[in-house]
Each structure stands twice: as structure tokens, then as C-alpha cells.
Symmetry: D3
Subunit: 247 residues, 6 copies
């Protein structure tokens, strides 16, 4: 069930049998010459929605803008400061806790979000620990990157043995093409495989990676590959979410 | 063009002819027994995307969670504190300014967001005014509620002369049904038309409005009405955005 | 009773019969060539103090500096950032709640404060809703602009059928002249009636409105008009505050 | 000249000959059985306004609510958190700097404000130091307590050799009585002279000082004493402000 | 006992007999040509550690970076903004309260910290007062400057009758030399005794005090003097802490 | 060179040949029955100071309190909220940048700090990216955990093939014993090797790990092992820092 398309009565009913929810969390940032600016939000959203078609999982709204300061050199990128993102994750969490949710599973689509999401978890826990309210709170927050769901990265590397890459990867572009076929773009990559390197801030990034990609050849991406990855990842998510819910 | 499905190269190209962008902004909050929790985000998103199919308008990601504390008595509602929302709108704006955007048009779907969006505009402007950087900055921020686009509320009242209402209105439910036909819900309204009253905080709200509606009978909503409203509103948006872009 | 001139013992006694208080809230900003920088703080203060002479109303200190970034192009204007103003309103409210006040009526003198005052109310309510403390909190916050007290704008338009205006209005200047007769200023207006237009930030404001006025001819203002408006508004305030207190 | 009663044109003219301004800063807090809640704001305001009648001094609006958490056990007290007060002082200062003010003289009426005002000065200076903008900024911020103006405390101790006290002092009550004769209150003090002790938080304060006074017998206060102190302090202020302006 | 070198089990045991702790708090800032950048953190740390060798006192970690914006003109100085320092002191205090500490004694080494530490105390107390939790909280926060421990400044002036000074004093340099003999530096002072003056921001400071000292000749400092001061101050600390613990 | 024991003149001279600095960053938190509360601050401090004895490296003050909310169930633990830690790291970084430092190497001793340190880096970079100041800023921030210096974890596992563990590890206790031999504690571990498990918040932590250790037998720790690790890690740090400085 997608929370955005559910009524409050349906969510109230869901809470009678489960205290767990999935929140897709992404970023709006350049993904190379043929990748979508929304890639990192779309990937976890597509996978979570697919999972929700096959199992009794509640999927919340997508937290779409994350930490992308290092991509600000490329048009269309939008970032939160980490301090803003922490405040927003606190507010989402507090709202959900008020309704009785106790297991919040953040399915992440952007490596650059990982530190701030974990810092936000610590901020939430610190407030609870400071308040020292007995009894022991039941709240558990979990971060999972979609490409680290069981078996997913192995599958991606199997499909793209060469040029899978680190940013604007062939697999993430494929997932978005499968989810939004009308957004496919034909662009010749030059060079075929983008360079590797280290990420720091927006100035350095554009110098090191002129078209935005890191180590990838995303021109390999196609709808069929994307569908295969989505199906696989959705199944892995269902399983992992089920055991998280039961903790 | 939807920014989320565009590449950075496409946005860079768009910026050569326009410095203007539409940002749909909404809320995740109860909308009565048959309305979707995502209604206030979906309505401006649906209308803006429809407009972008017919004109050269760039639509950014949807700012989906807003100020909904007064609905927290109903499961599934998620709110930001106004201070968090101000920080986030600052970050979105600063990111867009860095790329050269100078006209940011926030198409809003939630009355409860209006104060905080306007406060955020003042916060952005205050920072610029404090810095006192010459030359005169070109940034202009505009808030428009989709139901106040030229002629739209007249149309809604014409379609629903009775029971249009104030919250969980017949028209907004219709718009989401047209956008997401699979999310339609058949619920009998009791009473047929919900009571009217004043909004303050979550406790008082649920006491005054037990099923969440204010003054409405949204069981009248249907896909056809929604389509009519969307078409009308999208045209009005195109016109208004065009004159805003040219200011 | 004016809180500033009362002792704590007198306020403690007042609380035995009423939980309600009026807080005048204004701004320090240019008001054209013959208007006072303190106009927006003085108007609600003068009206509230007059009301307190005639009824058992407690009037708190005046929240004198508000959101005036758009007037920063004119010497003497002082503004808070909206985020600062929200924090301050929270602190005033929390202090008053601690003493037992449950109805806080903010009598506002500045249109530019409206969004931030309402955002502050949401921030206060959100904290309460997040904490979810039973039993239901009794706190109610109300914003009223003095010119929207019952019948006041009609009276102003009757007195000044031409050139009442939008900023540095004839009526607000008259109210301050009645309250501070020694501060009257004789200035010839050029043009007689100022232009109309839209407000955004400080740079644009001064370009559009070179002497600060919007649409007004405040040279019409005089002490007698001001007194008439004050008497009328004070009576309307007494009535409205009385029904708010009893809610 | 009082800024609140001046026009922007008058302030602009003042700035041609002086870059200095006085800001009265106080607190709203209990001042014992016969003292006014507004005492700490009224004293510096009364003295500064008197000085402005005799010399070319611009007096800004009164920053009326300060740091008074330790008085929250007494009805009517209102406090800012220090972090809020720092933000507000930053905003006032930044606004004034934008107009060209370079010497801001805060005439303080409350001992409990001293740390936070000084911390706010450091916050303002730190931002400037961090920005490292050449050339050297001219901004200078000064805190002066009205009772520490040259000769004032000597005068107060001469007038009240016994029972002048530490809080709700005879002299501050006298100053407010001179400024607001209609607010005088006849209350018998029990004990005649209040106990001495240390200040920490609101709970401890009310236990240690049941009627709010510390070490004082303010029933000695009268209008004539107040006038004498005001005249003396206003002259001292004129002199000190003049040398500060010229620095 | 030094908390940093204790186990949690040892601290838990300490809490069975005492709820009091000493926190050395300092600054990292220039201390003239022969003084250490860490002087203000080292002095209270050295004295507190010496006291803990002779009495059952728990000494927490040193809060080493404080408010030093005015020294930013000199290499190596590090400052917090006051708002950051307030937040950090809140967090330290809340952490310690959670374990049961009720008397926190901040032994300070830097005059420039005094306002912000006191503001932080008010912030902590304000949160408690706002929450209004019965029963009365036992928390007491105390600030003491090491040079104001009973008899210490008299001793310092006795040892250095000439050129003790205000910043980079002979005594503080001596204390650090006694604590870190390998860090002694031989530098000829020019002029022998540094000028006096007023402190504001970093730009003005370096102009007024070119080598960083104010009024001092720290070339007089030696290990033996430092040891004498340390022994004396440690004894005074033991006594004062003991009576604070027992309050 | 240790900054805390250097004069500003020495640091100014260092800056003529290097723009790089090491900042040890740790935490104050329980480390099991025989580990020191200061372990995570002491380890990087000891290693960095040892490196500075052998190479021309400037070591700043130790950022000693970090993110330790999950250990708050154990006496003596002190934590910052992540938002506070981000603000503090910003302030340290801005101070250092002002002096000309462009390579800041944070040598970390606590796994729980990693997200927040990285989030702080993004916050710093985001501010720079938002400001968009040309020319390209040279600032580079690097996080390295001491146990991930080249070869260090291999050495630790070689020394402690069994019971090295995840928290309160044998190696970190050994490093602190070597650095502070007088703080060694003889405690029998029960069980010999602590359980493994997942970390979330303070309540869950103490339930899962009753004496604080995770997976370790730190009773194996001794001074000699610690010295060996320190020597090895210091050499690795020298090399890594040298190449970071030269980037």
C-alpha cells in the first residue's frame, strides 16, 4: 500500500497488524549525460512500490531531495544542508511515531545521504535518550541502500561486467528507464567509461568528472535490465522488511 | 519538462532560454474517508505535469511534506515544523539560484502551507537584504495555490454547487482520482456534508471534525470532473507562469 | 491593565478570573515621508491600551520588531528573520502558558507579520502535537489585525475615501498622531497619491516606491481622525477579546 | 530623537552626522510586591528618552523582553531563551549596520541580560571575523547598565543608604514611578528588607525569595527620587554616548 | 579521579557518594610570544587534576575550545560561535544529568568564555523552567574562574607585582610551564610590558595589541612560580568544590 | 608540533611551509569494565602526538566529546547531538581556514562519529558551494579512523587473534594503557568474550551488552602491545598525512 494513495482509515487499519513502514529516500542530482536528475529518488521508490504490490508493506512518501552539494556544479541539482535534512528526518519520524509506527525502514538511493541519515538517527535517539522516558522506547530506525539488498549488487555486476561504475551507474539508469520508459535518452558517452576518483565538493567534482559520471558507461542501460533488477530487489526488500518488522 | 526525468544537460539547455521553474508543493495529511493522504502534493503535481506537456515549462521535484500539525490526530499524516520547512525551502532556493534560476513559482496544494511558504520567502529575501550585495538581485519567488489559478475556484463551485467544502473538498479528491484512478475509494459519508469550524491544533481538530472533512461531501468526486479541472487549471498555469517568467 | 505597569501579584490575581491576554505585535519600518517608523507597533499598542482602560483586559508588552526585510532600503527599519521571530513567539507563549494563560490574542499592526505569526502558531502547536501529552491542551492562539476588527476598515475608508492606500495609510498615520501628537510631521506628498504595486524584497521595494508609501496620501491624517478610529477599534477589540476569552 | 517617532527621512538625515544609536534593553519580570513587571525595560527607556530631549541622540526601539527564566515562578514574567535573544540581537544589529550605523550602544536595565548580550556581541563579531572581509569593519557594540553610568550607583546608595538592595531595588522602582506616576503601588513590605542570596533557576528563586525582592525595601521609592536619578543618569549617558560616538 | 581515565564502573561507584563533578573549560587562542595556544584550557585542567590527586573529586574531560573570536587575527586560534558553545554545554549537562549528576562545577580558564557559559546556564535552566516538571529539579551549575579561587589572584599579584597583566599574563604562562615544562619558550618581549586597552573584535584586537599580550610581561614566568600557584589553587578548589557539592 | 603547546608565532611560521593539520577526534563513552571512558579521544591523540615527535606535523587540540548517545546507559558517557557536533566542526574548520589551513585531517577514534563527521564535511562544503565564490576553494577535509591506517587492523588482529572485538577492543585498550600506564585496570571479564549484536539506542544497548563490551576480551590488553600499535600507526599516519598535505 502506498501511503500517498491511501486514506487515513486504511493506514489506521494497517497499524493494527504492523508498526513498520518503508520510506524511499533519494536525491535530486545530475546522473551523467543520459541519467535522470531524479534517479536516486526514483530507484528506491520504484523498488518499494513494486514490493508493495506483492506484499502487505506500507510505503510512505518519497523523501526526494537529499545531500547533493558535490553535484551543485551541474544544472538541476538540488541539495539540503545536512542540518536541514536531520531536522526533516526528525519531523517525519516524530510524526510517524505519534501514530504508533515503531519500525521505520529508510530505503536509500544515494550514497551521499548515508552519513546524514545515520546522523539523523543519532539525533532522534539522542533526544529519546536525553528525555530518559521509561519504559524503553520501541523505536527502531534502519537504513538500507537498495543496491545492498541481498544479491542485488551481484546481479548488477553480472549484468554489467564492464562499466557498471560508481556514479550514474548502468544499473541505476536501467532501473529508472524501466520505471519511466518515456524518459530514456540516447547519448554517446565520451569517453566510453568515465574516470574514477575521489568526491569532495562541487568545484573539485566538476573538474574531475566533466560530464558527471564516475567510472560508468550508462549507455548500456535498457528497460529489460531495469525490470530484472527491480523484480529481484523488490523480492529482497520484502524479505528483509519482513524480518525487520518482526524484530 | 519534468526536472526529475531530465538530464542535467537538458536543464542547462533550458536555462539558456528561461530562468523560471515551477515547484509543486504540498502536504501529506488526512483527506477524509475517501481522500488520499497525498492529495495536497498530488494536485499541484498533476496540474503542473499536465501543463508541462503542453508548454515549455520546467517542473521541479514535488516538495511533498509540508505543515500539517493540525492533522496529526489522523494516522498517516506527516508534518514538518515550520522552522524545518523554512530551512528546506531556503536550501531548494539557494540550489536553484546557483544554477541561474531567478523566477521560482511554488504551486501550492495546501492552505496550511501558505504562512510558512511566505515566511520562507521573507527568510530568503532577508538574507539577501542583510548581505546587501550589489547589484540588485533578480530573484523573485511566487506562491500560487492551484485552486486560485484564474477561474479554477469558479469552475469547482460550478461542478459542486453543494458540499464542495473547505478540507477534503470534492474538487481536490476529483483531481487525485483523475490522476490516480486506481486509488479511488467508495465510502459513504456520514454526515453527507461535514461540519464547518475553525482550525487550530491536532487535539481540537479531531474533536471538531471526527472523520477529517470540513464542510465537504467528497463522495461526489469522479475521474471526469477531475480531468476537467486539471485541463482548466493547467491552461491557467501556463498563462500565469508565462507572465511571471517574463517579469 | 497593562502588564508592563502591573506587579506580579496583580497578574496572579487577574489569572484567577481570566486566562486571556492581548499582545500588541508590530514592526519598526519606514512609513513614508510623514509616518513614524514605529507606526505598526504603536497602532495596536494604542488601541489595546485604550481598550484596557475600559474593560478588564490584560495587555502584555508590545512585540515591537517584526518582519520588515522589504523595507530595509529605508533608514531606521529593523527586521527579524522569520526564524528568529518564530523562536521569540514560542518563548513568549511558553512563558505565558507556564503562568496559566490559555488564550493569547495577538493584535497585529503589520501585514508583513501575518505569515510568520501564523507559522509560529503552527510551530507551537506542532511541539504540543509531537509531545502528545494528554490531556488535551487548552492553549489557543489568535491573530487579529487591528484594521480587521469589526467595522474598522469600513470606518477608515469612510474617513479617507481617496488615498487611504496600502502602506503608510492615512488611517495608521492618524492613529499614531492621535497617540503621539508631538510626533506629527508636515510633509508635502509627491505625488499626492503614491503608486500601487507588488512587494517582494528590499531592492525592488525602493525602486517601485521611492518614498516608501504604497497607494496612499497620508498627509490627510490628523489627530481627530485618529481618535475616532482608536475609540471605534478599542470597542471592537473589547467585544472580540471577550468572546475569545470565553471560548 | 526617538526612532519609533521619527520618519525614515529624519533618520537618514541623522546618519549624515552620526553613526551612533542607543538601544534600551530590558526584561519583563517580577519586581516584588510594588514594582512593575516592566521595570527593567522602562528604566533604560526613560533615561534614554530623557537624554534624547537634551542632546542629539537617536534612541531606537526598546528591546523589552530579555533573559528572565529565574523569575518564571512569578506571574507575568516573560523570558527569551538566550539562543533566541542572541539571534534577535544579531538581526537588530545587522539591520542597523545596513543603514550605516557603526556604534550601537545598548543601555541595559537587567543584570540577567549581561551574559547573553555579551555572548550576542561575540556572535556578531565572530560572523564578521569568519567572513574576514577587508577592509576592517567599523562596527562597535557597547553594553552599559544604566546603574553603572558614571556616578549613578553612588547617587542611589546616597538616596537609599538602607535597603537599596539587589533586585526590585528602591532606585529602579523610583525611576519607574517617576516615569509612570499612575502605576505607583502602596504595598507594605514583609519583611521590611528582603533576604539576600544566590540566583539560579525559577524553582530555587521562589523558594529563596518568596515575594521576589532580593535585599531591598522598595517601599521607600517615590517620584521625586526617581526624577533625581533620571536627570543624573541622562546627563551621564549623554556624556558617555558622546565619547562612544566619537571613538 | 579523572573521568577520561576512569571506567564507567568507577564513575557509577563515585555517584553513590557524590553527585558533583568539575569540568575544566578553556579556549584555544594566542597567548603572546611565549605563551601556549592551549593556555586557557591547560590552566584549569592542570589545577583540577592536581586537586583530584589530593581529594575525592571527579574531573570530567576538558571543554577545550571556547569563545575566542577576538583572537582570530593570530594563527592557531580556534573559536566556537557562542550559539554553538551554548548547544554543546547543554549536551554535556544533559548527558551528566542523565547519570545523576546534580552539581556541575565549570572551572574556567578564559575571561571571554564567561558571558557564554552564563548564557548556557540560563538556556539549560530555561528549558527546565519551561517544562515545569515537578518536583523541583536539583540541578545546580556553577562557574568559577581559576584565578578567582580564594586567594589566587592575590598570590599572582604578589609573585608578579609588575607586568602581571590582563591577557597572556605572567601567572597563566607560569602555570602552563609548570604543567608542560618542555613547552617553555624564551622570547624577548618588546615592549617589556604590553599596552592596555579594550577588547572587541579580531581586527581591532590585532591593531591594538600587535603581539597579542595585554598589559603583561610573561617573560617573568617560570616553572617554580607555576607550581606554587597550582598548589595553592588546587587547595582552594578542593575547599570550594566541597562546599558546592554539599549545597 | 602540538598546537596546544605552540605559540601563535610558531604556528604562523609552520603555515609558511604547510597548510595541513591533524585534528584528533574522539568520544567520551564507556569502554567496558577495564577500558577508559576517554579511550576514543586518547587513541588518536596518542598516535598523532607520537607522529608529531617524528615528523613536521601540526596536531591541533583534541575534539574530545562526540556522538555517543548509544552509550548513555553507562555512567560517565557524554554525547553531543549530531546537530551540535556539526556546528562545532564548522566552527573549528572556519577558524582554521581563516589562518590559511587548507587540508584538515581528522584522525578519528570512534566509529559512531563517522556519519556525523562526514555530514559536517558536507555542511561545510554546502556553505561554500552555496556561496559560489570564485576562485575554486582549496579546502579539503579528510576523515581517517586510526584503526584503518595502512596495516593497523591487520596488526591488531595478529596481536589478538581471538577476542579483539568491536567495542572496547583489546587493541584500543592497549593503546590507552601504553599512553596512560597509571590508568590500567585489572578486571575479570564475564563472559570472557562479550556478545556480538547490533547498535541502536541507549536502552537497547545496555540490554544487549550488559557490561558495555561488544565481542571483545580486553583483559588481554597490555602496555607493550599498545606501544607496538602506536609506533606502527604513527608511522602510517606520517606517510598518509604527507601525501594528503601534498594533494
Amino acid at each position: 500500500m502506498q501511503l500517498m494513495k491511501a486514506s487515513w482509515i486504511e493506514v489506521e487499519k494497517y497499524l493494527q497488524t504492523s508498526k513498520a513502514i518503508v520510506i524511499p529516500i533519494g536525491s535530486v542530482e545530475q546522473h551523467g549525460p543520459n541519467g535522470l536528475l531524479g534517479t536516486d529518488a526514483l530507484c528506491p521508490e520504484i523498488i518499494a512500490h513494486r514490493a508493495a504490490e506483492q506484499a502487505d508493506i506500507l510505503v510512505g512518501p518519497t523523501f526526494n531531495v537529499g545531500c547533493a552539494q558535490h553535484h551543485l556544479g551541474f544544472a538541476g541539482t538540488i541539495t539540503l544542508r545536512p542540518s536541514t535534512m536531520i531536522a526533516a528526518i526528525q519531523d517525519w519520524t516524530t510524526s510517524l511515531r505519534r501514530h504508533g509506527f515503531e519500525r521505520i525502514y529508510w530505503l536509500n538511493g544515494h550514497g551521499g545521504n548515508i552519513p546524514t541519515i545515520n546522523a539523523a538517527f543519532s539525533e532522534v535517539y539522542a533526544e529519546l535518550s536525553f528525555a530518559n522516558t521509561p519504559p524503553v522506547p520501541g523505536l527502531q530506525l534502519k537504513l538500507q541502500n537498495w543496491w545492498q539488498l541481498a544479491g542485488v549488487s551481484e546481479l548488477c555486476n553480472e549484468i554489467y561486467p564492464v562499466g557498471h561504475g560508481m556514479h550514474a551507474t548502468a544499473s541505476e539508469v536501467a532501473v529508472t528507464y524501466a520505471g519511466c520508459p518515456d524518459a530514456q535518452k540516447q547519448v554517446e558517452m565520451m569517453p566510453k567509461i568515465a574516470p574514477l576518483g575521489e568526491i569532495s565538493h562541487a568545484y573539485a567534482y566538476r573538474q574531475s568528472f566533466p560530464d558527471g559520471r564516475i567510472g560508468s558507461d550508462p549507455s548500456q542501460a535498457c528497460v529489460e535490465d531495469g525490470q530484472r533488477i527491480i523484480e529481484f530487489a523488490a523480492k529482497a526488500l520484502i524479505e528483509e522488511f519482513s524480518s525487520f518488522s518482526a524484530r
